[in-house]
């Protein structure tokens, strides 16, 4: 397989972007999960899909737009979606989660309309839904690299503020941190990561790469930094094993990556249980 990667550009694109996403999705995922925003990632991915479908429709209808990479409109949709979610969350202060189904259904609704308007880009759309090893272009790879840089810059500038915000929002406000602004930037970065991840894992499974490695990591990590490190390790393992099996078994990588991530999660839960049992027995024996 290494030989194939060296020989074929599309495999290089897929693998490099996969490795990058395997880092940035769980890295941001830790903040998303601890702030109980996992479902927002899901809602945003469906909005992104509306942008992609809209772009595919436009490029079909207007020949001038045929070369437009759908990822751009996807990014625009994701970013607008994240702004709208924030607006709605403030509007329905006591029912913040209402923003999620509203935005999610808007995304799916628009997608359905664009699909029926275009009535015929099913194969292309499939690769956006479930990911694809062969569809990642060099341009996609560059976009992923740019988004990764944005994520790294954002977190290295605001890591300590993001921690305070995630741990205790009231305290963040009381201590005079610009919590609103940082949260807003965070939502934009989340939108970018979702748009970046969709080429590999597919829109429907983006949120799994954001949440599953974190879920596994939280079972065993001690402290916040460790949670981040394990999340990235699990994310990378899922991407690498998932892409390899997708390539050899000719399956959609979204599926293989997510199933690998779930297997990792199950193994971690199981191992942790066994260790706890052994410890409990040892303690019992001492008594």
């Amino acid at each position: 397989m290494i030989e194939a990667i060296l020989n074929y550009e599309f495999l290089q694109n897929a693998f490099i972007s996969g490795l990058i996403i395997g880092i940035i999705a769980p890295l941001l995922g830790v903040f998303i999960v601890v702030r109980r925003m996992s479902l927002i990632a899901d809602a945003l991915s469906h909005v992104t899909l509306a942008g992609i479908a809209g772009s595919l429709y436009l490029s079909q209808s207007f020949s001038a737009l045929i070369l437009l990479n759908p990822i751009y409109l996807g990014i625009v949709a994701a970013v607008s979606g994240s702004i709208l979610i924030e607006r709605l969350r403030r509007l329905y202060k006591h029912y913040e989660e209402l923003a999620i189904p509203i935005i999610m259904s808007a995304g799916i609704g628009l997608t359905a309309i664009f699909i029926s308007l275009a009535s015929g880009f099913n194969t292309d759309l499939m690769s956006y839904l479930f990911g694809s090893v062969s569809a990642v272009s060099r341009q996609d790879l560059w976009i992923v690299i740019c988004i990764a840089i944005v994520v790294i810059v954002f977190l290295s500038l605001f890591f300590k503020e993001m921690f305070v915000l995630a741990f205790d929002e009231e305290y963040a406000n009381a201590s005079g941190l610009p919590a609103k602004w940082i949260h807003f930037l965070f939502m934009l970065v989340v939108a970018l990561v979702i748009a970046a991840s969709m080429r590999i894992v597919g829109i429907l499974l983006v949120s799994s790469l954001i949440t599953l490695p974190v879920a596994a990591s939280m079972r065993i990590a001690k402290g916040f930094k460790q949670t981040i490190i394990y999340s990235i390790l699990f994310g990378e393992a899922a991407v690498i094993l998932g892409l390899i099996s997708a390539y050899y078994l000719n399956l959609a990588p979204g599926g293989t990556i997510v199933v690998t991530a779930i297997l990792i999660l199950l193994i971690v839960i199981l191992v942790k249980k066994i260790v706890l049992n052994i410890n409990a027995k040892e303690r019992g024996a001492v008594k």
């Binding site: 921690f163 305070v164 741990f167 009381a174 201590s175 005079g176 939280m218 001690k222 402290g223 460790q226």
Partner: protein
Amino acid sequence: MSQTFIDIKNVSFQYEYTQVLKNISLKVEEGDFLAILGPNGSGKSTLLKLLLGLLKPMSGEVQLFGQSNETFRNREWIGYVSQKSNAFNSGFPATVEEVVKSGLTKKVGLFKKMPKDANVKVEEALTSVGMEHFRSRNIGQLSGGQQQRVFIARALISDPKILILDEPTVGIDHENVQSFYDMLAKLNEEQNKTIILVTHDVDTVSNRISHVACLNQTIHFHGFKKEFDTISQTQLDNWYGHSVRKIH
């Protein structure tokens, strides 16, 4: 002469049609250990939010260290310890060390890295609340009282002049409340921290406290603890209805 740290001048506040605070005036001097006593709905959370600059008074003014609250920038002078129960989710994956260190965030400032001596400061802050042996534990594994101490350490690490605690003894076992107050009194005496705590429970107004303020929409009493002790139950009933019981 000791300096006036907080000066609340004739402040009123209302939410839509409900008057919550009426003509409140209250001074807190350097070195005070003040308990603000008020039942639920007496406006104590609103008063705290006004102090922290999260709300603006409808009329009157709040001054901090001689400056108007609206222009006051040195927020790190005020260490705030919120009511533990609603402040964070106990499953949060962070160690005691990480939580305490995060108290430096505002002081260090945006775009700057934590200083090298941050770990020393963590150790000092944890020692002053008697939690130095819990440094690498996950915050969720501690008892309510221990978590409260960690949050006080988080406030102490930025070396504030005032500590403000919202219902600090909620979630602490009865037998540990005394040692909790001993620790606060030590901070007050040895480190000269001015302490304000807000509580609904007259029982927790311990003898370690120097001043008491009785709040129910307005300030009914503000004075030394020993003066407060002479107030009769009938008088308290007048202020609070029957929700505050004095135990002798």
